[in-house]
Amino acid sequence: GAMMRKVILLLLLLCFTAHTRGKLHSPPAKPGLTSCRSPEKETFTCWWKPGSDGGLPTTHALYYRKESSETVYECPDYHTAGENSCFFNKNDTSIWVNYNITVVATNALGRAFSDPVEIDVVYIVKPNPPEKVTVTVMEDKGWPFLRVSWEPPHKADTRSGWITLIYELRVKLEEEIDWEMHLAGQQKMFNIFSLRSGGKYLVEVRCKPDHGFWSEWSSTSYIKVPDYFHREKSTWILITVFSTFTFLILMWLLHMNRHNLKHCILPPVPGPKIKGFDKQLLKNGKSNQIFSALVVPDFPPATSSNYEDFQVEYLEVYVRREQELVLEESKDLHNSCLKSESSTSDCDSGRGSCDSHTLLMAKCREAKEGERQTDRECSPMRTEAQRRLKDWEEEALNYAHAGIVSLEMSSGRVKTWPSVFSPLPRYSSSPLDQQSSLQMAKQLSLSTSSYLTQPGHSTKEALGQSYWDLCLSSKQPHLLNPPTPVCRELQAHSDVNISSIGHKRAPAGPRSPALHTTEYVEVQRVDNKDTLLLQPVVQGCGRMGGCFQMPHGEVYSKVKGVDSDNVLLLQREGMGEDRCPCVEQETNEVTGSCHKSCTVSTTQKPSGCIYTAVPVRDEMATMANGYVDTATMCTLHTC
């Protein structure tokens, strides 16, 4: 009882103490053989790694068995090679024989066997590092080099050929990181060249059997290379001096030839070679003088020159009060004219605006008419047109009085045309006046055209109406002034291209399409036959400073002539953007027909000579600017 209790207590105490230690006792874990190595193919050592000991003191034992026998031997030497190792001396070592080795861990609670390992000594050779590594600095024709020599590990028997070693060495400068490797083969000496002057080198050597593992690196050998820079320096000095000389010579050569070089690299810019062009003026910056210098003094021709000297077409303008009046519009006339005109003339695609002629008379008339009324839209009214026409006739007389060709009012036909336009130089002298008059003229022309475009009977009245209206519709205030001066001015500046004004002028109204370039016929003179000789006014091309362009393509009929019946023959001409602005008319009520002749298109750009047969409306030949429509004219004529 008590004894039993004591035993139990003792046991409990033991257990308790065991617990308090915090360890759990168990059999040992399996150990493992890590490696076996032979340094010289004569002995070998095996190392193992023990597993956990299970909390109890554990012993390890190595057992081996040779290939051809079943006898199990235990490791002969556990100490020579250190902890957890087994050393096999020469007597115990056989080569070309497989060893089966096992390690056993034993403790109080159990045993653990490692996995068996089969080894053949000849395959596990790892020699010791080479010994007696010496590095010396030697000189080869003034250039130093390192000579490294060593000896094989003393245990390895290379003399008899039992073990064959090959060597490898590595070199680096003290401050470098990477080594320079050199395989030396079986030799025991090696030379290293290309040294840095004054550098400190580190050298290490290792070896390997022909069929085995590399040894560890030998201990590092240090060597310092002496300075030998004097030789290098002299070479560099030579090179520097030579290159400096060459450089100086090159520079001198360049300097001597700098002009040539300059010409080569930067060729001179050729100067302008315009006759009469003064470079000095250009440099001074007075452009006016320059351009004035460019102007040929005797161009354009002088005022007093006879116009006849110029190749100007005569225009015989015949103004009629009746339907044959150019500006009259009639449906039938229109149609017939269209048809007839289609064959007669073609759009003047080549002549350009310079060749177009406008009926200045018509313009004047319109101007006159227009001036008498306030600005308002022109509305076609026959009666008014009649009245206006009369007014116009009066005006024409006035014109004549002013030195303009008198308006011959005979049999209701007026042969009056705007006065001769003053020569260009006059115009050029007063550009401002020109402009205003131009504008007016433009207005007038516009009014004319609008008149023309208005439907109405082919009467002078209509014409006058339109004139009047157009004039009114012009935005020029001083158009309200006596028309005479206006017309005069118009005449005076008729040759000036009005198209410039047209640019600036806004369209007068729905009825009065935008002013476009208008052409004026320059009245040269009136001959004894009461024929008004007109000459086309070049639309500023080349005559004035600039050539004004019409914003829109408008076609004005040039007055071809006046025939015996006092019919104004208009020339089918295209005018507009310098080309035949035979544009399809479509605009307002003015007209929609595009006649075979060049018609004025107020809103559309000229797209070339379009010969379309749009039904003619009641209005006259559509000339947005009130210019005579050739078609109508022709129709009248033929009819």
């Binding site: 193919k41 004569e42 290939e67 051809s68 020469k90 070592t93 056989s94 080569i95 070309w96 024989v97 497989n98 053949d120 000849v122 028997d157 290379t158 003399r159 008899s160 050929g161 039992w162 064959t164 079986q186 030799q187 025991k188 022909d210 069929h211």
Partner: protein
């Protein structure tokens, strides 16, 4: 001393004859040097072959692999350590070498044929290397013939080590691989022996050139 590693045995032989005819003979050390280079190459090849094979070898194979003592050349008595090896005479050593080499003439053919159908991922590489093995082996054998002529008559003795394995190395994949591996391991060991013996002979013959050994 030239270390040309590329001359095969026949070339060696002709050169020897030429040299002999030219009133000058290639020193044995040279011949042995060349022979040892060839044997070195032979063994290196067999080592890499073993590594290639082991890359995809079934673990079970290692367990049931036949013992090396079952190699057909195991009956040949060869030194087991350095002392024994150094005591053998040159001619005997050469005889051993020649015997070993001779013993592997037929098994190499078997290896070669079975390498063509070896169920292994590196089969083509292995096959190529087996071919090389055969070539090197043959050239070495030819050279050794010349060598043996320069040595004592004992060098002419060649022990017969027949191979009884036949052409068949197994039916199923595992047995094929195992048998192939076994044969190769036997060859590896024997090639190492050949190489070692020749290098011993080389160093013995190069007494005038201590640099070599």
């Amino acid at each position: 001393m030239a270390h040309c590693g590329g001359t095969n045995g026949s070339k060696l032989f002709t050169m020897v004859l030429y040299m002999a005819a030219a009133c000058g003979a290639i020193p044995i050390s040279d011949l042995l040097d060349r022979a040892s280079q060839r044997s070195d190459k032979l063994h290196s090849l067999s080592t890499t072959l073993t590594q290639d094979l082991d890359s995809h070898f079934p673990p079970i194979g290692r367990v049931i692999m036949p013992r090396p003592s079952m190699c057909h050349t195991s009956s040949l008595q060869t030194p087991n350590d350095k002392e024994q090896a150094l005591q053998v005479s040159e001619s005997d050593l050469l005889s051993l070498v020649r015997s070993l080499l001779q013993a592997w003439e037929d098994p190499l053919v078997v290896l070669s044929t079975s390498a063509n159908t070896l169920p292994h991922p590196a089969q083509s590489i292995i096959s190529n290397k087996i071919q090389e093995l055969q070539e090197h082996s043959k050239s070495l054998g030819d050279g050794l013939v010349v060598l043996s002529g320069k040595m004592a008559p004992g060098a002419q003795t060649i022990s017969s080590l027949p191979y009884f394995g036949g052409n068949d190395i197994g039916q199923d994949r595992i047995s094929k691989l195992i048998n192939f591996n076994f044969l190769l391991s036997c060859f590896r060991r024997d090639s190492h022996k050949i190489d070692s013996f020749l290098k011993i002979l080389r160093c013995r013959a190069a007494k005038m050139l201590p640099e070599m050994c």
